[in-house]
Symmetry: C2
Subunit: 387 residues, 2 copies
């Protein structure tokens, strides 16, 4: 039996505060605007991926959460693997003593520590982990930014999950996508007190997939051009500045405005796309209520392509923010025990009724770092899933 080479990594979820919506090149996943995100802690949300290869593997195979997936139909996966193999080939050409891993079949297995169905950006973490794991397996000298260009082709926002902290995806201008990549705006340590509370909505049926939704918005929304040409460039500059200055109030307002503006162009799409529902809207009002009671902006909501809310706040305001969350969710909501230290604050009945009925799970987390190499392997030493 030939040597089985193995490398394992974990990679984080990121939640954008200036949203990616719209592709100028759907194949290369080149966006119509730059975006910026916060990387969440892998203690709570992460993809864990092992890549392995061996002369004995005749083909590429992949397992997601224990289920084998076909690799042959997945153009995005194939694009990533092709780029990674090509980089490995170059390494092998430069040093003829290295094993010819680029010619071997790859076995890749990935597991999430959170329910995939919860609609929590699992593809971003998944593709970041895959690219990182194969790059480590291949001992590529590529920088994280270089790898981000590969992960981007798997899932646009995956490029941001190659970094921890505060991360920008620069849209770039080149047709081949060689300058459409992630860069770190600031390490998690720069502003380490950022925390996030995720309210997972019970009804998870997605209206329209992100990919087809973006295409539809790009083609049909008459307000979209204004967003990408004027609104987002200005907001990117302000958001970067707010993060550098650790200015939560500005960070929060820009985050909420961008979420609203993104869902506005979804609604302006024809036919319209709806991701927020009555529960999402009640949580928007809850956040406004919390800020109103605090007399200052202590928390911000943001919504991706689904009804879940991510609420950002600083550690120093945790008690007051979470006391209202506790007042709004049901005691039987999963994750609600994480709120046990808080005294429930009073929340208007109409909000509490909608939120307690419509939120199925609460996840408390914080800002975190980028992908981490690990000795723990998803695959067995033979490069096959463990029985």
């Amino acid at each position: 039996m030939s040597t089985v080479h193995l490398s394992s990594t974990t990679a984080p979820v990121n939640i954008a505060v200036v949203k990616y919506w719209g592709k100028r090149d759907p194949t290369l996943n080149l966006p119509t605007n730059s975006s910026i995100s916060v990387t969440l802690s892998q203690d709570d949300l992460r993809a864990w991926t092992t890549a392995s290869c061996s002369q004995d593997f005749p083909e590429d195979r992949m397992w997601l959460n224990g289920e084998e997936r076909s690799t042959t139909d997945d153009k995005r996966l194939l694009a990533c693997l092709k780029e990674l193999r090509s980089l490995r080939t170059r390494v092998e050409q430069e040093d003829g003593t290295l094993p010819k891993l680029s010619g071997m079949g790859l076995h890749i297995a990935s597991e999430n520590n959170f329910p995939t169905a919860a609609g929590l950006a699992s593809s971003a973490a998944g593709f970041a982990a895959l690219v990182r794991a194969v790059a480590d397996l291949y001992k590529l000298p590529s920088s994280r930014t270089e790898l981000s260009r590969i992960a981007r082709q798997g899932s646009g926002s995956a490029c941001r999950s190659l970094f921890g902290g505060y991360v920008a995806w620069e849209m770039g201008t080149r047709e081949d996508g060689s300058d459409s990549q992630a860069v770190q705006v600031a390490e998690a340590d720069h502003w380490p007190t950022m925390k996030a509370c995720i309210l997972v909505a019970s009804a998870q049926k997605k209206d329209v997939s992100s990919t087809s939704g973006m295409q539809s918005t790009t083609k049909t929304s008459l307000l979209f051009r204004e967003r990408i040409e004027r609104v987002v460039p200005d907001r990117m500059a302000r958001m970067t500045e707010a993060i550098r200055a650790r200015d939560f109030s500005t960070f929060a307002e820009l985050t909420m405005r961008d979420s609203n503006g993104f869902h506005a162009v979804c609604l302006d799409t024809y036919p319209p796309i709806f991701y927020m529902n009555d529960v999402s809207r009640a949580v928007v009002r809850l956040v406004e209520h919390i800020n109103g009671q605090a007399g200052e902006t202590v928390c911000a909501y943001t919504y991706d392509a689904g009804p879940n809310t991510v609420i950002y706040y600083l550690r120093e305001n945790e008690a007051r923010v979470l006391s209202f969350v506790k007042g709004a969710v049901s005691a039987t909501t999963r994750g609600a025990d994480g709120l046990s230290e808080q005294t429930a604050a009073s929340v208007p009945d109409v909000l509490a009724q909608t939120i307690s009925a419509g939120v199925s799970r609460v996840i408390l987390t914080k800002i975190g770092g980028g992908p981490e190499k690990t000795e723990r392997s998803v695959l067995g030493p033979d490069g096959f899933p463990r029985k």
Copy 2:
């Protein structure tokens, strides 16, 4: 006892297909964009108003649906009455033999034939009826367009209810509002087969009043300028053309796009304004389902500042449109008996569940004419409400 002069009129509701949203002058109700509407039949929805005056009336008094309302705090009402009195004064100056009605107190009473709480543009019908009734009482020679400029100061969209059929409100450019007025695009007879089905939502709590909502959008939405400067002017031209050409498919698409675009700028407002709810969104999907099943655009949704849907369709498609509506609403919904001739068509469960639970009333109506003088009086011959 002095002579009591009386004049009575009815006035219709209008539902915009290119929406009015944004005031460039809040006092004069001058809009940031032109708009266009369809006047609905007074058989189903109308305000009925009597204006009276007498030397014996020391002050202006007003009754709405039997309840007296203070006239002294209502700046919009006062602005209308002041303009009407000033026109009457001119008439009296030109013909000294006429009674000096302009100096007498006015008694005005108005009743709707539909629940005011249903959020069905009652203020538009109400102010149009009031202006028309007082103009008739005063025997003013003013044209309907001239009166529309007065009604506009009461409630912006009221100016469109001075006409039947298809009506444009031209935003105008003058600072004094003298060219911000309604004109008829086409008589109801030009395209008489237009019908409307109104799905009144159970939960009628309005998010934000139209007046404050418009102000907030104008000030804070970054997408709003694109709407008023480019999107609406182009859409007004196309909509006018579609009405003239009786092109339902274009009329429908423009109507749906404009409703979506209006709610998009509401969502882009900071803090965001939500008028549509999960029931509204299910009805959007129902309309898409009906059009999909028909293989052509046979109906269009539109939403004002609330969750009610108005569905426009042509008489020739009534059976197929209403069969789906019947399939979606509950048999116990008020007005559902109006659907009795239809066979209920099958509607996806997820839509039918939301719609049947969330729609409290169905109103079937059609395009109609403008205000009509009537001998029936809301007030008694003494100019006071009947006991």
